[in-house]
Symmetry: C2
Subunit: 411 residues, 2 copies
């Protein structure tokens, strides 16, 4: 169960919202944009994974960055508490030598499945780490180790050609699916299935939400998108306030989706976009809440709540001398406390004049995770269309890559 | 060594910057604000800690949230790579039952020193977790365990009275030091010293920077503060782009400092403040950079670099078929790569018309960590004065607390 609570304006015959909806349908039906249909493609892909012998692997090593790691990490973190038996996944992402060295010490090379993931195929962090891992563990790609190294990339990319050359198994990301929209493609499906997660209900949850959206329009989503668009000049900071520690990586996935999809030079050459911020409740009430309540009126806040943490730990019924004023929470579950904190803060933020909405999940189930992912992807597509930006590319990062190439190749 | 690189306007006789500087001096000299002199107070405090027998403890458990944990976590994370022998510190912060249960499984109750940290003394997350930890591990505060439970709080607070009642050792936070300015008080000094960190050079680094500031004004700091203040309406988002994974917790410490100190209703009843964002390079180049470069011109970006990671891991000199175009980085150290990435991105962001500056540390040494902390605290104080806000309190979070109390005490 996923429930939405908001006060965005009710849609009547708003032309722009209607046009945005039709544009998404057109993107899907024409095949111009592929993420809408990933949950369907994923089901036969899962069958393919089942035909691979994975039980000799006790550890999954993912070498990827950005769209090639954020979504996998998000799902792994959200589902891990209820799936403690899932295989450990190690993420090699950053070009930080301390992290790489420390992760390499944790790899069990004889028992690990290695995934090299890059849509373009030549991401500099990913290839640099991959080469270093090959050398460190003396992986023999053309011999004993070519059944433990897997590649996930676009068909025909350099990485794909590399895989063909060494006869490594490659899984493909559809060309019409961008990195930050790729988590339900092979990028997420294959490593998560290898780790032992139950991926099918994630896909089914996502599929159900996409179908529901195109069948019934989900007016609350259209209304929310329209609100963002109309108030882009005043409330351009989008805060996601998730009340569960296991959602921290989901917040980061959202930050990429929202920042990269909407942060664009638009058709009129204007710099446009929304600045995403992911924070965790209740802990960030002690860090970021003051600014929300008293700071500039430039934010909207979406609260995410999980009703059932699958954990009924209670605040001990202990009374401590001089601290008796804190006894009003004794014997309540922490799950109840954190959810009441979320509701209290949502009310206080709302009363300070800031637009808030809430998403409530009954549990962090596979189905709900699939729905949540698609919900934010659809929202990004809607707001992107309304804002008149190219939601699915990212040209702003190219200059930095060129400067890096020039500086390092000269040395 | 800490070096600052920026293009903020040079100060001549700017009255406001001069006034801000004098105001800070007045705050320090009058004793109205205490954080300036914490590094001095910390030195005898460290001596006091040395007189406590800590070698029976192999683990430090910190129960605290916000200003009572963020600074300790930041220092622990930054210094850990070079201090692998330091005792493990477990942080109980959030009211998330999954996290609390998982942390409790990692506590070795017979070998752990427990720190309960709360400035006010009645933080609901902290007291709730503390009670639950007491019950779970059957701690006997009035008997065998009263030498392993320590309290850090304001003198005279309810938590302080509680400590007196059970004859627990209490360390005090000066009344004139707010939570987010307290990391160099007992809050950080005592647990970090217990863990075996070399705290003295942290304090000395901080002390040196404070003295240098009041002796020589550090015009680059005044110029930066003035720039923020003057452009508060247009560039109100302050991005800290730190190129080292071990700085992620420092980023979070900065977010609290910046958000809570400056996010205020000012004397003219206006909502004012700067929205802090902490990101990590190079990884967040694949997440947040697109928005910076092409999105709204509402951001400034401070790059933080570490020259020497104490790790000379090199990108393996491996050439892979079809991936030869990535060979230009082969055999370079990852430290060199990540720093060149930082410089390339800084240049590309600057060329897109955004104000950038850089802070370069030669290493993540204790001295540099102390300097970095004070640098941002002084910056917050300067901008707070210029903005005409009450930098050191936080009233915006009270309503949420009241609503929570009303909802839970009725149930």
């Amino acid at each position: 169960m996923i429930a939405f609570e908001n006060n965005f304006e009710k849609l009547s015959k708003n032309d722009l919202a209607q046009k945005a909806f039709e544009s998404l349908r057109e993107e899907m039906e024409s095949g111009a944009i592929g993420y809408y249909t990933l949950p369907e493609i994923g089901i036969p892909l899962l069958e393919e994974v089942k035909s691979i012998k994975t039980d000799t692997f006790t550890q999954i090593v993912v070498i990827g960055i950005g769209g090639s790691s954020l979504g996998i990490k998000a799902i792994d973190s959200m589902l891990r508490p209820a799936n403690k038996e899932a295989k450990e996944i190690l993420f090699f992402e950053n070009s930080d030598p301390v992290t790489i060295s420390s992760l390499m010490q944790r790899v069990r090379p004889e028992e690990a499945a290695f995934f090299v993931i890059s849509k373009s195929g030549s991401t500099i962090e990913t290839t640099s780490i991959f080469k270093t891992v090959i050398a460190h563990f003396r992986l023999e790609l053309d011999a004993k180790d070519n059944k433990r190294v897997f590649v996930i990339t676009d068909e025909g990319s350099d990485l794909d050609k590399f895989a063909k050359h060494y006869v490594l198994r490659a899984f493909h990301i559809p060309h019409n699916v961008g990195g930050r929209f790729s988590v339900l493609s092979a990028v997420g499906v294959v490593p998560l299935a290898f780790a032992g997660y139950n991926v099918l209900p994630i896909l089914k949850g996502a599929l159900g939400f996409v179908e529901r959206f195109f069948a019934h329009k989900e007016n609350h989503l259209l209304g929310k998108a329209l609100f963002y668009y109309k108030n882009a000049q005043t409330t351009s900071i989008t805060v996601l306030f998730s009340y569960a520690d296991s959602m921290e990586q989901f917040n980061k996935w959202f930050v990429q989706l929202w920042g990269e999809s909407l942060g664009k030079i638009d058709a009129h050459k204007r710099n446009t976009g929304f600045t995403p911020i992911g924070i965790i409740g209740a802990v960030d009430q002690h860090s970021f809440l003051q600014l929300i309540v008293e700071g500039p009126r430039d934010k909207t806040v979406t609260f995410v709540r999980v009703e059932d943490f699958g954990n009924d730990l209670r605040i001990a019924d202990v009374s401590l001398k001089h601290l008796e004023q804190t006894n009003f929470v004794n014997n309540k579950t922490f799950a109840h406390l954190i959810n009441e904190q979320s509701k209290a803060v949502m009310q206080s933020v709302s009363e300070s004049g800031i637009m808030v909405d809430a998403i409530t999940l009954d549990t962090l189930s596979e189905q709900n995770v699939g729905k949540l992912i698609v919900y934010f992807q659809l929202l990004a597509s809607l707001v992107g269309f309304m804002s008149g930006v190219d939601t699915y590319n990212q040209n702003g990062v190219e200059l930095g890559k060129k400067i890096l190439y020039n500086s390092l190749s000269k040395q």
